[in-house]
Amino acid sequence: MKINLKINNINRDIDVEPGEVLYDVLRRCGFTSIKKACGTSSCGVCTVLLDGMPVPSCSYLAVKADGHNITTIEGIKEEADRIGKFMVEEGAVQCGFCSPGFLLTVIAMEREIENPDSQGIKNYLAGNLCRCSGYEGQLRAVKKYMGVSE
């Protein structure tokens, strides 16, 4: 079946299988920044933004996204570079596999919450797992990026 996705502001008509998940469709279209780690929407690695809100693309049916706006890292290069710089300078990136999904969630948080504190940041990003970093470096980087002092 055919669906229409507006991916990073470009409209595309795409043939999908009824059971196909958004992750597979986007990878197939060449958006390789999206990674998959669990397949059960438990880790946040495959996060994309759907109308600006983070969703786990590994478990989100592509047909459900018909007519919606999808944002991947490829579509917000400048914002990604800006946050990425804080991450790298803090030494918060190790294997990097969870970074694209993490960055997209940070961007969604930034749009949604004004002046979050440490706990607010942790709560918002709780669904984004990372096995390398121990999380503290990511928190330091996000706090610096968002100007959170406590």
Binding site: E17, T32, S33, I34, K35, A37, C38, G39, T40, S42, C43, V45, T72, I73, E74, K77, A80, D81, I83, G84, K85, M87, V88, E89, E90, G91, A92, V93, Q94, C95, G96, F97, C98, S99, P100, L103, K122, N123, L125, A126, G127, N128, L129, C130, R131, C132, S133, G134, Y135, E136, G137, Q138, L139
Partner: protein, 770 residues
């Protein structure tokens, strides 16, 4: 030092963060065949009959592999040095399947849907065999898990498959029984640790293709590309010159990608079909069919005299290696060899035990590599003994622990599968680490406990740890440095960056040795055709072993540059020096920039390529040290334990890149915390792993981590590159003991089985009240 001990941004950091295509699956050709594996539904069975005809006839299926049509060469997938200490007990595919998840057959098809469909069409008739599911009853069980006549050990390791024993080892010095008898205080305890899963975010992935010269190319998420080449060659019966292994960026390893998973199958499919073929594990496959940490039962007895001097230590282990014996002997030995030297004044030490086969998912290398399990048992028992002696456990440790300039007989007796090496510990700031850690965590105020409201108690606990820096006399790393016109360098290393940042820190070491800035060093790593050999990313070896090779190469290249400068000026080499940008005569009369000199060297004046290769194989393995402190809060009503604070003070010698060293420690701590508090492993009655996804198997989330405090001691290891030792594994070691010691100090319950669960705590609290 200008370039080391400096937090240079990770070279691949930006690219990875913003999602550039870099990992195995990103790089696989669009038209690659998809390989899927049919896995055993039984813990132990023999394939009586397997019919693949229907699967082969399905449109889009290009190749079906079973034990009947693949080479039958027995290997170990462990990914260790050669000869391997792990027995050869694995065929690519076999008529026996030995755990739920073991490979039965593989299908390669045009797409994933077809491959999955084809798996369903394979008809298998199994003869079910009685499985061995209880590792404490594995030895001498009527079912023999490895009856195949080809199974063998490479050198004596106690391998006895007829009794389901994968390895056995015993050592002792002093008279243990006599010494224990003379002790005023003797305590014992039995501990159990679980089959923790690595859960690297990138699942195990590989793809293969045959290149224009007919050579097999494998791109793999591996920690050991050179071992992978050797083992693929051995398993497929292919000469090594026909194989190239390339490691792209890796989405986490922690030991889980030291072994081979999938490489054999994609290689066979590529060779048979002439098409590229990829195999990307699902999360469920990672849980069920890769590796775990070796579950162990550890019995520890320690004795001390009336003044609290430790006199005798006994550690007896039963380790469960699952269906295949990858890393069986060595992980078990490290449980002793990288814990017992901490208390080096003991006059009598005994260590020994067995590693048994069971019909569970195989165990393998996992960050800490036995030292985590051993540390849990030893350091919990040390706390118990300190209490018996009537001393503060931290003071008790300081009284007994190893100090700078000292040695331990264990170093010489125990290596990894072989004898060890005699060494003194030339850098050991453990005492500083302990004292600084006490200050940072507020030990004096908080020990042992504080009541927080009616139903909550906080406790604080500690543990110390050591690891190694590579396997001495075995692990080798090498480095090539090439000068280019324009005055920049290529650094080619076999060392394998799996997300650790090793490309960056090796570039820093090269830059420091050359006297140039790190951005002048372009790194290319881990390609068996293009980079020199390296054993790979394991055993905490990269900074020390590969780093020393890079250091040597850098110094040698500096010498060549000065020599070329001297020739240009027509003076002797002694009269010339290179300051990182210019080559000058010491009298100041002549000077040329490196950029100018290198361009002349390649185009116009005394033309020649400047390139060096150096290697390093350690004669010793300097241990990094760590003092860890955990503060927990126990809810007496629910049994829930929260980790309030974890403090770690680390002696890793010179941290080459303090930011990257810190995140290595933080990440290691959280993996240790996960093992202690969250990562429960459950099996069904038939041996099926029930905790095979992130819903059932809970790794720590950021909300579970309240506060980590990490500091580094000022330390300099004379044999390390610019004073560095390893930092990759040590962070994982202390949480099990420090957290369970804190729980004991809070509520008087000694946790002896991991992970800690509210049920366990509540039951123990109830028992205490009776």
């Amino acid at each position: 030092m200008k370039e080391v001990n400096k937090s240079v941004p990770k070279k691949d950091g930006m690219g990875l963060t913003v999602g550039k295509p870099a990992y195995t699956e990103d790089l696989a050709p669009q038209n690659a065949l998809t390989v899927k594996v049919l896995r055993s539904p039984y813990p132990f069975a023999r394939i009586k009959n397997i019919d693949t005809e229907k699967a082969e006839k399905l449109k889009g299926v290009k190749c079906v592999l079973t034990y009947k049509n693949v080479p039958r060469n027995i290997v170990t997938r462990a990914g260790q040095g050669y000869p391997e200490p792990s027995p050869h007990d694995k065929f690519i595919l076999d008529e026996y399947v030995r755990y739920i998840g073991d490979e039965v057959a593989a299908v390669a098809a045009e797409d994933e849907v077809t491959a999955v469909e084809a798996l369903k069409l394979i008809e298998v008739e199994y003869e079910k065999l009685e499985p061995v599911l209880d590792f404490e009853r594995a030895e001498g069980h009527p079912s023999i898990i490895h009856p195949e006549k080809e199974a063998h050990e490479m050198f004596p390791t106690g391998f006895n498959p007829s009794k389901n024993i994968a390895a056995e080892y015993h050592m002792s010095f002093g008279d243990l029984d006599k010494t224990l008898k003379k002790c005023d205080y003797v305590v014992s305890e039995r501990y159990y640790t679980q089959a923790q899963n690595h859960t690297a975010m990138e699942t195990h992935s590989s793809f293969a293709y045959v290149d224009i010269n007919g050579r097999l190319n494998i791109v793999s998420s591996t920690q050991t590309p050179f071992h992978a080449r050797r083992i693929v060659g051995e398993a497929l019966g292919l000469p090594l010159d026909k194989i190239r292994v390339i490691k792209p960026r890796i989405g986490g390893g922690y030991g889980g990608k030291q072994a081979l998973h999938g490489e054999f199958l994609v290689a066979l499919v590529a060779l048979r079909t002439g098409r590229s073929a990829k195999l990307i594990y699902t999360r469920e496959e990672v849980f069920e069919a890769t590796y775990t940490r070796h579950p162990m039962r550890i019995d520890v007895t320690i004795g001390a005299d009336k003044d609290g001097n430790i006199k005798a230590i006994d550690m007896e282990i039963l380790s469960n290696t699952g269906a295949y014996a990858e890393h069986a002997l060595t992980v078990f030995m490290v449980a002793g060899s990288k814990t017992l030297p901490l208390y080096n004044k003991a006059e009598a030490v005994r260590f020994g035990g067995k590693v048994v086969y069971t019909n569970h998912t195989p165990a393998g290398a996992f960050r800490g590599y036995g030292a985590v399990q051993g540390n849990f048992a030893l350091e919990a028992t040390i706390d118990k003994l300190a209490l018996a002696v009537g001393k503060d456990p931290v003071e008790f440790r300081v009284q007994n622990m190893i100090k700078e300039g000292e040695t331990s007989p264990v170093f010489k007796i125990m290596g990894e599968g072989t004898e060890g090496v005699d060494m003194t510990v030339d850098s050991c700031k453990l005492e500083y680490c302990v004292k600084r850690g006490m200050e940072l965590c507020g030990w004096k105020d908080k020990y042992p406990r504080k009541q927080i409201g009616k139903n909550k108690v906080r406790g604080i606990g500690s543990a110390i740890a050591m690891q190694g820096s590579g396997i001495p006399c075995i692990d080798m790393g090498s480095a090539v440095i090439k000068l280019n016109d324009g005055g920049f360098f290529n650094l080619m290393v076999g060392a394998t960056d799996i997300g650790t940042g090793s490309d960056t820190i090796l570039a820093q070491i090269a830059a420091e040795a050359l006297g140039v800035s790190t951005d002048k060093v372009v790194v290319y790593s881990s390609d068996t055709d293009l980079t020199p050999f390296d054993c790979g990313a394991y055993a905490s070896s990269t900074t020390y072993v590969s780093g020393n090779a890079v250091y040597r190469a850098g110094r040698k290249m500096k010498g060549l540059i000065e020599k070329a400068g001297a020739e240009r000026f027509g003076v002797s080499k002694d009269e010339v020096e290179f300051d990182g940008e210019f080559i000058r005569t010491k009298d100041g009369r002549n000077s040329v920039s490196l950029s100018q000199l290198s361009t002349e060297l390649y185009y116009s004046n005394k033309q020649k390529q400047l390139m060096v290769c150096e290697s390093f194989c350690g004669e010793v393995s300097p241990p990094p040290f760590l003092a860890g402190f955990a503060e927990v809060e126990v809810d007496l009503e629910t049994g829930k334990v929260d980790l309030i604070d974890y403090t770690a003070v680390v002696d890793c010698g010179t941290p080459i890149n303090p930011n990257l060293a810190r995140i290595q420690i933080e990440g290691g701590l959280v993996q240790g915390i996960g093992m202690t508090m969250f990562e429960g492993v459950k099996y069904g009655e038939n041996g099926k792993l029930l905790t095979n996804n992130f819903l059932q198997y809970r790794i720590p989330s950021r909300k579970d981590i309240n506060k980590l405090t990490v500091e580094f001691a000022e330390s300099y290891e004379p044999s390390g590159p610019f004073g560095a030792k390893s930092v990759g594994e040590i962070g994982t070691d202390t949480p099990p003991a420090a957290i369970t010691n804190a729980i004991y100090n809070a509520i008087g319950v000694r946790v002896t089985k991991l992970p800690v669960t509210p049920e366990y705590i509540l039951m123990e609290l109830k028992k205490k009240m009776k």
